[in-house]
């Protein structure tokens, strides 16, 4: 099982519920803006505590309210690519990449820095300050940083949003390659029908 998610979240006044399980390599989470898709990703990553429910990713129970299981974010090993990148502004690209890599157990690493560098074409960016990167570069570095932390599963929040067509296309190709070559389940939040149809083995609709 790639993902098994059944949870309810309280976000201020609003309530968000999600209930799905998927065996696909890449599962897409779709729905209108404000449906709480990002909140579901946050809950899976451990950044938001559900009122109740159960979250399993890549075979590991991350949260279960009936068994009082609630792993800390750092123990969940989510490769979370945030929509806004969230690169550390006081570090170079190289230091950003090394951040999670250093903390990952060596035995669990499944991709090297050279491989990531080649895959995402970021070799030239390593010594740059993150403030000087373009939107597409930020996205690529954020993905690379997540992959190097040896995640057990990936959470991608609208990875192609605000990218031009050519950049978006390149990134989709890359996600396809990660999906087919790596043994990590991917949960993708997307607004684009075409993108979802092309990538996803299973589509989860949120109302």
């Amino acid at each position: 099982m790639s993902f098994e998610v059944r949870l309810s979240l309280q976000l201020g006044e609003a309530e968000v519920a999600a209930d799905f399980s998927s065996d696909a390599r890449l599962t897409a989470l779709v729905g209108p803006s404000g449906a709480g898709k990002t909140s579901v990703l946050n809950a899976i990553a451990g950044l938001l505590r559900p009122v109740e429910g159960r979250v399993v990713a890549a075979g590991q129970v991350l949260f279960d309210s009936t068994q009082a299981i609630d792993l800390a974010p750092e123990a969940r090993r989510a490769g979370y690519v945030f929509q806004d990148g969230r690169l550390f502004p006081h570090m170079s690209v190289r230091a950003n990449l090394a951040y999670g890599e250093r903390l990952a157990p060596t035995t669990e690493r499944w991709i090297t820095r050279d491989e990531v560098s080649g895959l995402l074409d970021i070799g030239d960016l390593l010594d740059r300050r993150t403030a000087n990167l373009s939107g597409g570069e930020v996205r690529r570095v954020a993905i690379a940083r997540a992959l190097l932390a040896a995640p057990r599963f990936l959470l991608l929040d609208e990875p192609t949003a605000s990218l031009d067509a050519a950049r978006a296309e390149a990134l989709l190709g890359l996600i396809e390659r990660i999906r087919d070559a790596m043994n990590v389940p991917i949960l993708l939040v997307s607004h684009s029908r075409a993108e979802v149809e092309r990538l996803a083995g299973q589509v989860v609709e949120m109302a």
Binding site: A45, E74, F82, R86, P89, Y99, A149
Partner: protein, 233 residues
């Protein structure tokens, strides 16, 4: 320069610098911890803690000095304990002057640090956590370095405030030459003695130079971090 100021005047300046530097360095960790608590934690009594930290800013300094006397005096609960366990006396010593300066500087230091901690995007801390960092590591690698300009600015402001401390110091630590007679106290003392106008003027000029220097350094640190002055004060 050394001919311009008498040996006694140099001693006053040296004592002032010692008192202020010790006051700032000793209260820095506490100030940062308080700033972090107020900026990042939600707990019952948070408002009260915030108010208590700011109290020396609005209270008459004499009252702060009197409160210190009650708590840290020879017969005060903390003062008696310090004397019995460590043999340390604060009243009428330069350490007491440093304590008074630290308490008076604390609100300014906490304020600057708190604002710089609040300016650190929590989302970056979350990102660090998902990458495998424990809360402590995320703090040490993200929050702390990103709030460094606020720490430096807060320290400089606290230093300037300590340098000028008068009311709480004279109340708690008294005005003892070589022990607690810092710059402002020496100027005040000079004003009471006929014929020391020259000494008063020289010490006042030194006070202006030192304070201006501290303010400029803090301003520069804030500018360098991209913040505005309103950010800190």
């Amino acid at each position: 320069m050394s001919g311009w100021l008498s040996a006694a005047e140099w001693a006053v300046i040296a004592l002032s610098l010692k008192v202020s530097i010790v006051a700032v360095l000793a209260s820095l960790p506490a100030a940062y911890a308080l700033a972090w608590l107020i900026a990042r934690r939600r707990f019952p009594g948070r408002m009260l803690l915030d108010a208590a930290v700011h109290l020396p800013l609005v209270l008459p300094p004499v009252v702060t000095g009197w409160l210190l006397l009650l708590a840290f005096g020879r017969n005060g609960p903390i003062g008696r304990w310090l004397e019995q366990i460590f043999g340390v006396t604060l009243v009428f010593t330069w350490l007491g002057a440093a304590l008074a300066a630290a308490v008076m500087a604390l609100p300014l230091m906490v304020r600057a640090m708190r604002l710089s901690i609040e300016a650190v995007d929590r989302k970056l801390v979350e990102a660090a956590r998902t990458l495998g960092a424990s809360p402590l590591r995320a703090f040490a690698t993200i929050t702390l370095p990103l709030s460094l300009p606020g720490i430096a600015a807060g320290a400089m402001l606290g230093f300037a405030r300590s340098l000028g401390e008068f009311g709480a110091t004279i109340t708690f630590a008294a005005n003892i030459e070589g022990q607690t007679r810092t710059l402002p106290l020496a100027i005040y003392t000079g004003l009471q003695v006929p014929g020391s106008e020259g000494a008063v003027a020289r010490l006042a000029i030194m006070a202006i130079v030192l304070s201006l220097g501290a303010l400029m350094v803090s301003e520069w640190l804030v500018r360098r971090s991209g913040g505005s002055r309103a950010h800190v004060l």
